[in-house]
């Protein structure tokens, strides 16, 4: 026999989790005890639940799945913004919470860590809005089914889930978990797939100068290699949305840069928008990713391949999975280098960061120029929301170098935790380099202490421009000025004899 919490711990291990992020609390201590017994799982303490959530987000980006454990209500509600971010960014983060004993509600008890009323389901009800499934495990007989089904939802939809386990139930004996592959059971409708591919191929093969745009949903659709196949076969010019930077190889011949409406890489928007047929694969257009809907796209020339449907010039094909569509399309598409050839002709002077010399003054441009030189196949660049988005977008990434940005949700402070989680997930394999503005950094700064504790071995550039500079550019006011800190002193406060970090600071 197993226990419910052991069952859960085993499942987490089986789906590929090594590190999980926690803040302990009296509703989850027994659960944590059990998870500690699983030697494949490493517990990572975080300073608070929001940071733990961001760490799980970062871990998930590198590892494909992540888990965090919090206590009831005060924990779950503190993490909820990170979970909403994971939802927006298509990350299957599993948030696990202890919950009230199963007899508390029937006995009409009032409990601490609650709103002081009799309804204890409000945390689940709130989490349900930003997860793809949120459950309370309050019955031993169905616990195994519910745990598995909830995790399968996370995997299938690439979205977060919430699992709350009644405190008194987590140690209840149940049968141990059985073989289960946790693969996505969703598949394309054969008729619809064939029709969509045929229609799209016809449109693209008849075009003179077709182009490709890679979008952020390629990752949750597990379609990046199918996309690469299509790029290789078609030799169309290809651009990436800013949210998808790093999802396709920037060093390949056909690559044209970032397509971001009015602020695209030089010449890139020009070629995309003047094509007579463009396939947008896994894109999602918001006010930000389209720079205020500034894109000039003709719906009659447009194919959008969504995560489970394709729209060809306004005609919708349902239940067509993105990876299936791209793979099948690659079989039918004709090679056509016209758009990339045109791009090469008009491409202006390179947009690379000019080479900065050692003694040049520290300006943003110089910093990113130097940072670019540090990058190699084992690097990961993370940039927090704000100015860094624009500087990061212009970086040239070497093959193998990955790049992470939280552009859909755009919650400042995200990158501190996310950097921590990503670094743990890739420890010994990758070096994470993060660029964080001072406003963002102050949100979540304390997690630096745990980066030191767990020796995450990462590099952070804090870009201290005295406040919320991106907002100041949009709309300035005194609210954008924040308290200045001695950031390098902060690292001293977090360092102790046992473990420490190195910091330096350039005077303004």
């Amino acid at each position: 026999m197993s226990t419910i919490r052991q069952y859960l711990a085993n499942r987490l291990q089986q789906i590929g989790i090594n590190d999980y992020f926690i803040v302990p609390g009296d509703y989850n201590l027994a659960l944590l005890d059990q998870m500690l017994l699983n030697e494949h799982l490493h517990m990572i303490n975080c300073c608070n639940e929001l940071n733990a959530g961001y760490a799980a987000d970062g871990y998930c980006r590198a590892n494909g799945v992540a888990a965090m454990v919090v206590t009831f209500s005060v924990g779950g509600l503190s993490a909820v913004n990170a979970i909403a971010g994971a939802y927006a960014e298509d990350l299957p983060v599993i948030i696990i919470s202890g919950g009230p004993n199963t007899n508390a509600a029937p006995l009409h008890q009032l409990l601490h860590h609650t709103t002081g009323e009799h309804d204890f389901r409000y945390v689940r009800d709130m989490l349900e809005k930003v997860t793809v499934k949120s459950v309370i495990i309050d019955d031993a007989q169905t616990a195994a089914y519910l745990i598995d089904d909830t995790i399968m939802h996370a995997v299938r939809h690439q979205k977060p889930v919430y699992i709350e386990i009644a405190c008194n139930l987590s140690g209840y004996p149940i049968e141990p978990p059985q073989a289960l592959s946790f693969l996505n059971v969703n598949r394309s409708d054969a008729l619809s797939l064939e029709a969509a591919v045929s229609c799209a191929a016809s449109m693209l093969n008849n075009a003179k100068k077709p182009a490709l745009v890679a979008g952020v949903k390629l990752r949750p659709a597990k379609a990046t290699s199918a996309m690469q196949l299509l790029i290789d076969v078609s030799r169309y010019g290809v651009a990436a949305m800013p949210t998808a930077k790093g999802f396709i190889d920037e060093t390949q011949k056909n690559y044209m840069g970032i397509y971001w409406g009015a602020i695209s890489s030089p010449s890139c928007a020009n070629i995309v928008e003047s094509s007579d047929a463009y396939l947008f694969a896994g894109t999602i257009l918001t006010d930000y990713s389209s720079t205020g809907y500034s894109m000039v796209i003709d719906p009659h020339k447009l194919i959008v391949a969504n995560i489970d449907s394709v729209v060809v010039a306004g005609v919708t094909f349902n239940q067509v999975l993105l990876a299936d569509f791209l793979s099948e399309l690659a079989k039918k598409i004709h090679l056509n280098t016209a758009s990339y050839d045109a791009f090469k002709r008009i491409q202006g002077e390179a947009d690379m960061y000019q080479t900065a010399e050692l003694n040049d003054p520290i300006k943003i441009r110089n910093v990113f120029s130097k940072l670019e030189k540090m990058l190699n196949a084992d690097s990961t660049v993370m940039v927090d929301t704000g100015d860094s988005w624009f500087n990061g977008a212009r970086l040239h990434l070497p093959k193998g170098c990955t790049y992470e940005v939280q552009m859909q949700y755009g919650s400042i402070g995200w990158s501190v935790g996310a950097t921590f989680g990503y670094a743990l997930a890739t420890k010994g394999k990758r070096r994470v380099i993060s660029c964080i503005g001072d406003g963002s950094f102050q949100m979540t700064a304390q997690e630096i202490a745990n980066m030191i504790r767990y020796q995450a071995n990462l590099i952070i550039f804090i870009i201290n421009n005295g406040g919320y500079t991106i907002e100041a550019e949009i709309h300035d006011g005194p609210y954008n000025i924040i308290k200045n800190w001695q950031y390098s002193e902060l690292i001293k406060a977090f360092s102790t004899e046992e473990n420490h970090a190195w910091a330096c600071q350039e005077k303004k």
Copy 2:
């Protein structure tokens, strides 16, 4: 003419707000501009929204009402745990958020700072679970009505409310606010009040040794002075629940200490539980406040006066407001000092902190002993969740000294922000002294920087016991051990030439 945001700013001023707590974001900048124009309102920047929420909580405890302004979704969801806490603790905190333009949903636009889907109402829907009213202002004609009605809900129920204003609407011209007293319109049912008072008076006047217990709902019911009147008239022995510590004068003759089940002040539980009639005024019994339901209370001897109902020996009287009940009861009650006399007889050696000498080693007991000596009529003691609860409960408060604890919700880290807010609300009048464990402190530590920026002039004792000690006492494990920091170095990092703080640290 006014604008919607001006209207709101004026209302905030009228209900007595001077400082409001913000984190700016692109959905709220224009709103903030307008609030800055109101010279009676002072904008306080916080590092993050959770801290801002805790600051509003603290401000509200001192000022009676508080406001905070956040940006859409990333702001509101980051603050939601503080709002849930304000709900649990009966604090009318008004959380104001910018929201999507009114045409975004009809145009089926996708937006940043959202989950990437078409529903933009999820923030309101989530906040609704932990507020007494949550509204989206998306229509100019009803804006004035809705703003007032929502604020009135906060005042009437002494609970938080959420007001989201569509970005494009906040500058829309509307007529300025009119005279409105924002008084609670709720009143007692005359028949029911009379019956309840008569029934309770009869029971108490017939008892030999009646006693009083003061509870946490006295504050939201605005019934503390009515309670004092009843104490004065009846001369019954009176105890306070730990959540209500500081609500009644601890130096008055009848005071018997903290009634907290098994861990009450010496002799206090003994007297309460052996009384033949006890009136619990504004109490709420949870697993914590009753120490695991360890109280020995006979329902036949019990009168519970709730916020809007009274139960006398199991008989319910509805629509009886707490302040009305206590005032009317005071008119009918006979003087009876028996319970307090008994208390004096059996009261053992005082539980005061033994006098600590200057060079005594730093131990918890000594710290609190010294702290007790610092207190005067202008002091406020705040204690964060954890060990400090138990140490704080034993403090003897001088008359006028106030005391704050978040014992219903018990979210660790609360006190950092709450101390900041309370100190601003009482600046120049009170000195706030806070006791915070290291685990709690790490949650929200960065807000120290803004205490320095805004010169809040408070004192914090960080009690560094190497982790979550209260949990370790309940249930120990490696999760309770946290990273040690150099806390006094932290203060250096937050201090700059313009403004700074003083810190020292005792070596372990």
Copy 3:
């Protein structure tokens, strides 16, 4: 001691209920047994729950409050459309349902009459959307409080409420109900009331030709007599919205008819819309009541007195109750007969139904002409949604004659049940005469049988125009043609030896 169900039964009696409407089911039988023991309450069986809901609606219109009892889920969900209608029409109907035993959920049992899943709260969650409070009584200690509080919500807001009582709990002993007046505790804000009255009086007193319009919210605001006072004092010309027909005396001197935009009574809209100041008291303007927003109203000349706020030329005064406003306004208003004088001048030929002779062919116009002659001070006219709205609006009601229409919700079939309920509430005092189209009648026809059983002594005119004629006028199609019935044969089917009715039918 009492039981929970006895407590509830007593409360129903105390708030003035004599008849309650039921459909029995295994979740409510024990509850019904108890209600039968209360000799002041008469149980009325209905054929189905929708009809029972409509009957409660009608009963409530006459009696001020109504109750119905249904079984779990299959009952509550069958009634929900009638409850939504009661919500729309501001009727405090109390719907009471049996519910699952309190141990069913903790034992994770599956139950009949449910969706076959473990959540049993869905009925309450659904009803919550169309009531002002929906509760599940699953705890004996708080049952008395919750029952009273829920009923008080119905009374205060003049909206329906839902009370579900766990089957096994309804017989649990609790203390009997205490004195409680169930009055609305809401009151006007004194400052705001004074400001609103002063502002409105100034505007009206300065106008040359001010007019009054009576709206449907006068009833839930209990403001009809205050309105009459204002009419008497001001002598302004007064019109009624079609939804408020019958709320003011149509025989009084100042009365101008129905104000209904483009389809108002002759000359009425002309006078209202050409006034230089108009007070709309308790009006609500929908697409129907404004005939597609065809009213020509200048917001600068408009005072709208809502149920708890007043808007004078765009300036909002909050927390001003309608009855208080009208009463106070009556004290300050100057007599001014200009608008009514103007009305008399332009008033064209009377819009009365021409006198029909005995042998005239049966046409709608003739029917209503004869019907008008039947009316006296003890009559009540009810008209179902559809053509009858327009014919009914033109009726001249003698003083004392009441009139009912469900124009906000407009659910056809409503009047069959509503007529039944109204007739029972006024049995021995009033004669109800209803006009129902064949399409409406077929929806809910079977309830005729219970009118016969309970000898409701009412008169129904079924106007058989072969389908949904009002729809055919808007937009015709074969869907508007319905099966013809032999309606007078139907009455035979429902009549038995014990009790029977009389019917006749004119051949087409």
Copy 4:
């Protein structure tokens, strides 16, 4: 180009709908016009929406999928109980409603057929609780995707869905629907399936006297033929749950009767419960289907095959589809006739209805005896909730004869509409014979008129026992006595020259 409503009509046709059930209303008339243009779809008018919902339920049982069209709010909420029933009974009924214009909410208009407030989403929110997906189509670009996706949800989960189309949008031009097979995309996890089959086979093959029980989920799982295969291969004795009566051939050799706890067919429970291993396929045990949890089942001997998981002696195998499991199990199972052999040995005198002679008095037993003789391969028996359940369960069904009961939801009155819908779906192929108590019949009696109008050619036995007899057996009281009707007169009222029915009535 197509329109949105044309798109929807085409999809309904493509998924196999011929008849759809409607009540017209101003929000759906344009939609109905369009559906009338599709010559493959036949519009069926119903008297009210509850009846239309029951008719769709019955149609769906015969046809696999069904649709109904209602108007906004007054329609949807009147139908909601039938939809909840369809949910409980696993029937993919598509309920389509017209909805407010897309500009009504942005313009803050108030509308008829609503609660009189600004939120128009409440109908969807309520329907969401009793459907597997509920959507509002308020955007043309995503309409095609959303319609298809919602219908796919109905098919995949075999549950109802709700589609609301904004009135002004339904005629908007969009591209026509593309090829799509609407097959369930869900599939078993290969690892888990193999493990489950292996584990179950081992348990069954090692048992001495294994038995099978067929449950109601076999139908939504589309697993009845896989079940028959397993029966054929294993030759185990097989029983059917009362909810699954008619799902397996009652004339086959292994058949043992109805397994229904304490009220099973003679000897049947005896054999099932004394087996040393039993496979329950697609069963669901509620208080009713288990007769108050009276079954004596040993979890260690039990295999439960659910719709997407299998539990073998407490061990859970997830993501195993019922049909896959049964088919694969059939490949591994050994023939074992021991349980059926035992059944034959102990089987007492047949429980058949004794042969009734022509002139025997009319008693329930005689009626069902005669009814049984009427049955053949083209018959369908429907029994409404109540006494008829028990009489129906004892019928011996000839091969090919189908049987329908709504035992999970058990909403009386269901069978009138359901009979109508089932008869239309099988017109010219089957004769439906229904047994309905008088209490049930009165709920929904008027739909008889439309059976006549559309010549449904069915037979109804109204069993007039003077009230709610099943309740009277459980718990009697005056509420169980209902008004007597002259039921055969009713048929006259519904018959006209154009179309009529035949009725007779036995005097009591």
